[in-house]
């Protein structure tokens, strides 16, 4: 088990001590020392160096920070690291199987589903979560259930194409 002691906030008063948060991140059990007000997003990026998790708006409006927590897609900016002690977190760094890209990663490449790429990790984690939920059948439903991930380059059409190519083995694409 790996233990990291990042100094995320230097200005903390001494009477509020960091606590140890132990969770499984990308299949590895990990402990970090964090102060109570550190978001899961900041802990993943700054303490664990998982900078694939993007800090877009930091206010729950863009979806760039989407990660999977116990299999569910959530916004890592709107939760605290201390609240997720004991959880299992998957970030974009953890979706591939060693050298084998996740089918959605490959589909995003094949369908030209990004330009700048900033929203892509959140888009892919969100799409994985959406497929596990099993509630999106039609293209219209996929669009609705992916609306929490904004793409300012305007690659949305290709993003939905990429998801439709993978979802249900591409049978509804």
């Amino acid at each position: 088990m790996e233990t990291i002691n990042p100094e995320i906030r230097l200005s903390a008063p001494e009477h509020i001590a960091p606590s140890t948060v132990t969770f499984t991140v990308n299949r590895i059990q990990t402990s970090v020392q964090v102060l109570p007000w550190v978001s899961l997003l900041d802990a993943l990026r700054d303490a664990l160096d998982l900078t694939g998790v993007k800090k877009g708006c930091d206010h729950g409006q863009c979806g760039a920070c989407t990660v999977l927590c116990d299999g569910k897609r959530i916004l890592s900016c709107l939760t605290l690291a201390v609240m997720k002690s004991g959880s299992e977190i998957t970030t974009i760094e953890g979706v591939a199987e060693s050298d084998q890209l996740h089918p959605l990663q490959q589909a995003f490449i094949d369908h030209d589903a990004f330009q700048c790429g900033y929203c892509t990790p959140g888009q892919i984690c969100s799409a994985i979560g959406m497929m596990q939920e099993g509630k999106a059948r039609t293209r219209a439903e996929v669009k609705e259930l992916m609306s929490g991930n904004l793409c300012r380059c305007g690659a949305n059409t290709n993003i939905i194409d990429a998801i439709m190519a993978v979802k249900d083995g591409g049978t509804n694409a």
């Binding site: 903390a12 008063p13 509020i16 606590s19 102060l35 109570p36 007000w37 978001s39 930091d58 206010h59 729950g60 979806g63 989407t66 569910k72 897609r73 959530i74 916004l75 709107l78 939760t79 605290l80 201390v82 609240m83 969100s126 979560g129 959406m130 939920e133 509630k135 219209a140 439903e141 669009k143 609705e144 259930l145 992916m146 609306s147 929490g148 991930n149």
Partner: protein, 343 residues
């Protein structure tokens, strides 16, 4: 974000005790609104009492009296997709799924949905006065940019709207809110849970200090045959309502036996007018009758400089929702307005 202590409660009693010892403590569950408000320095807390680990019995329980009791700690997504909610209370499912995004619905809890704060731009801007944030400081929305603001039940001190979709459906269904606090358990009818701003716009609801929502009870009648949630907004998804309508009918042939209509996006709480629902009772479900009911609901509506469109929009939305309620097969993902061309 300012500094605070964090503690986990393992039971409702522990949570209430955690709040009792520190008046500046706050409960946190999904955190989707509270943590954002802490980041903006709009909410403050010395201690966050995490209630995600309190032991509660089943998420959704069918009670002997026919009610469905939903845990306050269940997520919005789990509620919307719960088989009993989908089957018996599809109005609630549709309203929940029209709100926020899939990620936020996976985090936000039922109790927290009732307690979310307004998205009034002035409330969200600590550089501006706001009677809801700082009582007595003033309301810049009255004479400012007020396109999103309320048209019903406003006061000279606050014209903010309550942003929930889920609560509009809960109001129409006549849910009951179960709360626990330092002085025990009580049940609050949904219509009495949220407040109008009046002289005390800093109070959103009638919870007492330290009280926590433990459950939401849905009455036996779920209006699962004829119902509609229609949400009108600036973009088709992931935006707050300009106007929304939850409409439910119990039909007796061509005639309405019982009607429920609640509006969102127009007031400081979900808006219901019993006189309008009584008017529809025994009448045919025609656009003309829904329009007459809409006139009764919007009676007394007062617009400000930029939100006059909401009055007409709400009236038309009610008529459209009436038609949608008769044809649930027309409903679209995200409670978007359907086309009736093929009917």
């Amino acid at each position: 974000m300012h500094n605070f202590f964090y503690t986990r409660a393992n039971s409702i009693e522990e949570a209430i005790d955690g709040i009792r010892v520190d008046s500046a403590a706050k409960y946190v569950a999904g955190g989707t609104n509270l943590i954002d408000l802490l980041k903006y320095n709009i909410e403050r807390a010395d201690v966050l009492v995490d209630v995600n680990h309190v032991e509660v019995f089943p998420d959704a329980e069918q009670m002997a009296d026919g009610c469905l009791r939903l845990s306050a700690f269940m997520t919005n997504a789990d509620t919307a997709y719960h088989p009993l909610v989908e089957k018996k209370y599809p109005l609630l499912s549709e309203a929940i799924l029209a709100g926020a995004s899939a990620q936020i619905r996976n985090m936000a809890t039922n109790g927290g949905n009732l307690l979310q704060r307004t998205r009034c731009y002035y409330f969200y801007d600590p550089a501006m006065p706001c009677n809801k944030r700082e009582p007595g400081s003033g309301c810049p929305a009255l004479n400012g940019y007020n396109r999103m603001m309320a048209i019903l039940g406003t006061s000279s001190e606050c014209i903010a709207v309550f942003p929930s979709d889920m609560c509009v459906a809960l109001a129409a269904l006549g849910a009951v809110v179960e709360v626990e606090g330092p002085s025990g358990q009580r049940h609050i009818p949904f219509s009495e849970f949220h407040r109008l701003p009046g002289r005390t716009p800093h109070l959103d609801n009638n919870l007492e200090a330290g009280e926590i929502i433990t459950a939401i009870c849905l009455p036996p009648e779920g209006f699962s045959r004829n119902y509609a949630y229609l949400k009108l907004r600036d973009r088709n998804s992931y935006a707050f309502a300009l106007v929304s309508v939850a409409l439910a009918l119990e039909m007796d042939g061509e005639c309405i036996r019982e009607a429920r209509i609640a509006l969102g996006g127009v007031a400081h709480k979900p808006w219901r007018v019993p006189d309008a629902e009584d008017f529809l009772q025994g009448r045919e479900a025609t656009p003309g009758n829904f329009a007459a009911a809409a006139d009764l609901i919007l009676q007394g509506a007062q617009a400000f400089e930029h939100n006059g469109f909401k009055i007409e929009l709400a009236k038309k939305a009610i008529v459209r929702a009436g038609k949608m309620a008769l044809h649930p097969e027309t409903h679209l993902p995200g409670a978007q307005p359907p086309s009736f061309e093929n009917l």
